[in-house]
C-alpha cells in the first residue's frame, strides 16, 4: 500500500534524512548509551581486574568470580544474600501477587460502586518512597511504641507479638511483607487493566450458562490474563533481585540482625562502598554487580523464552 509518508520521506535527500534521524534520536541514544549501557559494560569489564593497595588495576580474568563463589570470606555472605533474596522473592510471589490478583478480581466486578476510591487508596502506598514506608513500619512494629502489639491484643492475639524486625528468624520475612504491603498496587493495576480488556461477550456467555462471579473469574478471566501474570512475575523478579532501599533504611548496610536480612543489593553496596567492617572494593563490587546482572538476565530470558511462548496471547 502506497502511503504518502513513504513518498515524502523517500523523496527526501539522504543527507537530510540522516540529519533528521540524528536530531530526533541523537539525544536519547547518546544519554542512554553513555550513562546506562556503557557503565554496565564497563562494570563487567572492571570485574575482571583486581586492585592493589597502591590503587593500580591488574587484569585477573575470572579470579574475582572464583573468589566470590569459593573463598569462604566472600562466598558465605554471597550465598547467604542470594538465599535471602530468593526467600524475599518467594514471599512476594506467594503473597503480593495473589492478593493483587484477588483485589483486581473484586474491583472489576460489574457495577461495583466506589471502585475508583478503593483503587486510589490501595495504590497510595506504592507512590511513597521505600525509605518512608520502611521507617513508618519500623515504628509501628517497634515494641517501644506498642501499636502492633496493642492491635493484636485488641483481637485477642497479644501473645503472638514479637519484635519481628529484630529477630534473626523473622526479620527477612517481615521486611518482605512490608514490601508486599507497599507494592501490592502494581499487580493490582496491571491485572485490573487486563481484566477490563476481556470482551463482555465472553463473560456474558458464561453468565447465560449460569456460572457465578467466582467461577467466571477462575475459569474464564484468570486464564485470559495469564500473560499479565507472567509479566508481573518477571517485574517482581527484577525488582526483588535489585532491591536495596528497604533493607538499607530499616536495617542499615549491615542488614542485621547478623546479616539475617542481607540481600544481593545490600551485599553489593557493602562490597562496593565498604562499611564498618571492611573497605570498599570496586573490582569485587563490579563482580557482584555482574553476577546480579546475570541472575536478572537469566530470569528475563526464562520469561521471554519459556513463559511468553507457552502462554498464548488472547487476540482482541
Amino acid at each position: 500500500m502506497a502511503e504518502p509518508i513513504s513518498q515524502v520521506v523517500a523523496s527526501m535527500p539522504r543527507a537530510r534524512f540522516v540529519a533528521l534521524m540524528a536530531l530526533f534520536l541523537g539525544p536519547a541514544v547518546a544519554v542512554y548509551t553513555l550513562f546506562s549501557i556503557y557503565p554496565l559494560i564497563a562494570t563487567m569489564g572492571l570485574s575482571t581486574y583486581t586492585s592493589d593497595s597502591a590503587g593500580g588495576f591488574h587484569f585477573a580474568g575470572l579470579a574475582n568470580f572464583v573468589t566470590l563463589l569459593t573463598d569462604s570470606f566472600w562466598s558465605k555472605p554471597f550465598w547467604n544474600a542470594a538465599k535471602n533474596n530468593l526467600i524475599f522473592f518467594c514471599v512476594h510471589m506467594a503473597v503480593q501477587n495473589p492478593i493483587g490478583i484477588a483485589l483486581a478480581g473484586l474491583l472489576s466486578l460489574p457495577g461495583l460502586k466506589l471502585k475508583g476510591l478503593y483503587r486510589t487508596i490501595i495504590f497510595l502506598p506504592t507512590m511513597l518512597s521505600v525509605v518512608i514506608v520502611g521507617f513508618a513500619w519500623n515504628l509501628i512494629l517497634s515494641p517501644l511504641w506498642g501499636v502492633a502489639e496493642g492491635a493484636l491484643k485488641a483481637v485477642g492475639l497479644g501473645s503472638l507479638f514479637a519484635p519481628w524486625l529484630g529477630l534473626p528468624s523473622t526479620a527477612l520475612v517481615t521486611l518482605a511483607l512490608i514490601s508486599v504491603w507497599q507494592f501490592v498496587g502494581i499487580p493490582l493495576m496491571l491485572i485490573y487493566a487486563a481484566l477490563l480488556n476481556i470482551p463482555d461477550e465472553l463473560v456474558d456467555a458464561a453468565r447465560v450458562d449460569g456460572l457465578g462471579h467466582f467461577r467466571i473469574f477462575l475459569h474464564i478471566k484468570l486464564p485470559l490474563v495469564l500473560p499479565t501474570i507472567g509479566l508481573i512475575s518477571i517485574l517482581t523478579f527484577v525488582g526483588n533481585f535489585n532491591a536495596f532501599d528497604l533493607i538499607y533504611s530499616v536495617k542499615g548496610a549491615l542488614a542485621g540482625p547478623n546479616f539475617a536480612s542481607d540481600i544481593l543489593g545490600t551485599f553489593f553496596y557493602r562490597t562496593f562502598f565498604g562499611n564498618q567492617l571492611q573497605l570498599g572494593n570496586p573490582t569485587m563490587g563490579a563482580a557482584v554487580a555482574t553476577v546480579m546482572f546475570f541472575i536478572i538476565l537469566a530470569g528475563v530470558c526464562l520469561y521471554l523464552f519459556l513463559v511468553q511462548r507457552r502462554l498464548r496471547r488472547y487476540a482482541f
Binding site: 509518508i5 556503557y38 483485589l103 511513597l128 525509605v131 513508618a136 509501628i140 527484577v238 535489585n242
Partner: protein, 276 residues
Amino acid sequence: MVKQRFQIFGVHAILIAYCALALGPILLVVMNSFKTRNAIFGAPLAPPTATTFSLIGYMKVFNASHIGTYFMNSLIVTVVSMVLVLLFGAMAAWALTEYKFRGSTALALFLSIGIMVPIRLGSVAILTMMREADLNDTLTALILVYIAQGLPLSIFILSEFIQQIPRDLRDAARCDGVPETRIFFEVIAPLLRPAIATVAVFTIVPIWNDLWFPLILTSSDSTHTITLGVQQFLGQYITDWNSVLAALSMAILPVVAIYVVFSRQLISGLTAGAVK
C-alpha cells in the same frame, strides 16, 4: 436477590478492610506527628486534641536539618529529568515509529534493554565516570543518570501512544509541505499530553523516591535529595519520636497531596499503559 446483596456486601467489606490496612499506617504516622511525646506513647491511636496537639517535631526538623535544600534539590532533579525524559523520549519514540530505516528495529531493541536491566548494576562505573568528569556530588550527575534510567520505558510507552494517533493528521500536514521537524513539534507533541501522566508514574515517581543514586553520587548536604536527607535525618534522630514522625509526615504529605489531585489521571494512565 438476597444472596447477591449478601455477596456485594461481602465484597465491600473485604475492600474496606484492605483499604484500612493500606491507609492505616500512613494515617497513624501523620496523626501522631502532630502530638506531644506523651500522647504519642500514651494513646497512639487517638487523633490529636487541643491538649495533645504539638508542632515540636516539625520545628526540630526545620532547625536540625536542611530539609528546605533537600526538597529544592529533589524538585530540581525530578523536574529537569522529567522534562528531558519526555522531550528526548518523545523525539526518539516518534523517529522509531514513524520512519522505518535500516537498523531501526535493532535500535528500538537496544533502547529497550534498560526496561528490564536496572541501571544500578552499572553504579561502579558510573561513579568512576562522574569522578573523572568532575561531576561527582552534583545534581547534574543525578539528572544524567535519571534521564538514562527513565528513557527506555518512556520511549516504549510513548511509541505505543504515537501509534494510536491517526495517520491522517501527519499526512495532511505533509501534503501542505510542513517540514518534518515542525510536524513533530507542532502537530504530534501537543497530542502527547495525555501520555505524560503514564510516563510520570513510571519514571518520575522512582526518581523522586530513589535512595541509591543520591547515596552513591552525592556526599554533601547541599546536594542531598529529600529521600536521602530524610533517611539520614531519621538515622540520626531515631530516638526522638517527635522529629522522626514529623520528618516522615513531611516526606509523605506532598506526595499524597499530588497523588490525590492527579490520581484519576495517574491511574487511567497506568491502566492504559498496561493494556498494550
